[in-house]
């Protein structure tokens, strides 16, 4: 093929020897890929897994042998000299995460994108995160141009979030806003570790 030389722009710097990840979840169309694209230093990438529709219980009328494709969009940004941060945009439903072995293991946390116009779309995602994972969560209210502005406390109440869960608002097309959401998540993860070590 001849395209993969050490000068290949796709490659990480030779000094990078550590990787961390954040999962970006949310209902369809809420801006997951937009946020990832705003932060990523490489063009957005996509990888897909095939599953039989029978295993996810969708439309059995189409026959149990049908397969469907579940996609994960992701990006990457190098932090400092030696660490690569990967942002994996995954379907909100927790059961799909298992399609990618180890996807949730060792994650810094989860950014949950919400759209205030369709707040109820976020309930299932949040419920499943609370039930099935212990990962730190930060909620990102994506401010679409035509979405009504709600003060963060109102969103927090509507989503019934625990007081320690950060809620940040912003236009995730803007890199500083997307980065601020990541900062809020990592700060939260650090606070939780501090609390954990005190409790232990």
């Amino acid at each position: 093929m001849g395209f993969a030389t050490s000068e290949d722009a796709r490659h990480l710097s030779a000094d990078v020897d550590r990787s961390v990840k954040v999962l970006v979840v949310g209902a369809y169309g809420v801006g997951k890929t937009t946020l990832i694209d705003a932060v990523s230093e490489i063009p957005m990438l996509r990888t897909e897994e095939q599953i039989t529709t029978a295993s996810v219980g969708v439309d059995p009328r189409r026959g149990a042998k049908d397969t469907t494709t579940v996609a994960m969009d992701f990006g990457r940004v190098t932090l400092g000299a030696s660490t690569a941060l990967y942002l994996f945009g995954t379907p909100g439903q927790r059961r799909f995460w298992d399609l990618w072995a180890g996807l949730a293991d060792g994650a810094v946390g989860v950014l949950v994108l919400v759209d205030t116009r369709w707040l109820e779309d976020s309930f299932e995602v949040l419920d499943q995160l609370e039930e099935h994972s212990r990962l730190p969560i930060a909620v990102v209210v994506n401010q679409f141009p035509d979405s009504p502005r709600h003060p963060d406390p109102e969103v927090r109440r509507a989503l019934d979030l625990p007081p320690e869960t950060p809620v940040v608002s912003g236009d995730v097309r803007e890199r500083p806003h997307a980065v601020a959401a990541l900062v809020a998540l990592v700060e939260h993860a650090l606070r939780r570790q501090g609390a954990g070590s005190v409790a232990a």
């Binding site: 093929m1 993969a4 030389t5 050490s6 290949d8 796709r10 490659h11 990480l12 710097s13 030779a14 990078v16 020897d17 550590r18 990787s19 961390v20 990840k21 932060v39 490489i42 990438l45 996509r46 990888t47 897909e48 897994e49 095939q50 397969t67 494709t69 994960m72 992701f74 990457r76 940004v77 932090l79 400092g80 660490t83 690569a84 941060l85 990967y86 994996f88 399609l99 990618w100 072995a101 180890g102 996807l103 293991d105 060792g106 810094v108 890199r175 980065v179 990541l182 900062v183 990592v186 700060e187 993860a189 650090l190 570790q193 501090g194």
Partner: protein
């Protein structure tokens, strides 16, 4: 409606991986960083197929497992098996230091610094 790589029937994936559905190691995650060994590619077993060769060619620089899968247009699950074999064969090395279950405080603080400096 799908990219060519995904038209593969599941049976084909099974053949590509020598009939195994699971990698020989469970330390591989989508973000695991990989790189061809310094002499990578020269000692490929005769049985190595075009996908193994493509993995090594892409890994002349450091890439994460998920990136490899995306560039090869193959599912991560399949690439994990290929990568696992190549690591066992010594032609591919895991570049990232072993990940713990949860990132430690030091790492989180570094990530935070890195984000603030973006």
């Amino acid at each position: 409606m799908q990219t060519e790589g995904y038209r593969d029937h599941p049976v084909r994936s099974y053949v590509l991986t020598g009939g195994r559905a699971h990698p020989t190691r469970n330390t591989l995650r989508p973000e695991t960083l990989l790189r061809a060994a310094d002499d990578g590619g020269r000692d490929l077993p005769a049985t190595a197929g075009r996908h193994e060769r493509a993995v090594l060619e892409l890994c002349q620089g450091t890439l994460a497992l998920a990136e490899l899968a995306a560039y090869l247009r193959l599912p991560v699950s399949l690439v994990t098996v290929l990568v696992s074999d190549l690591v066992d064969a010594g032609t591919l090395v895991i570049r990232s230091t072993a990940a713990h279950d949860l990132p430690g405080t030091d790492l989180l603080e570094e990530v935070l610094d890195g984000l603030r400096n973006l």
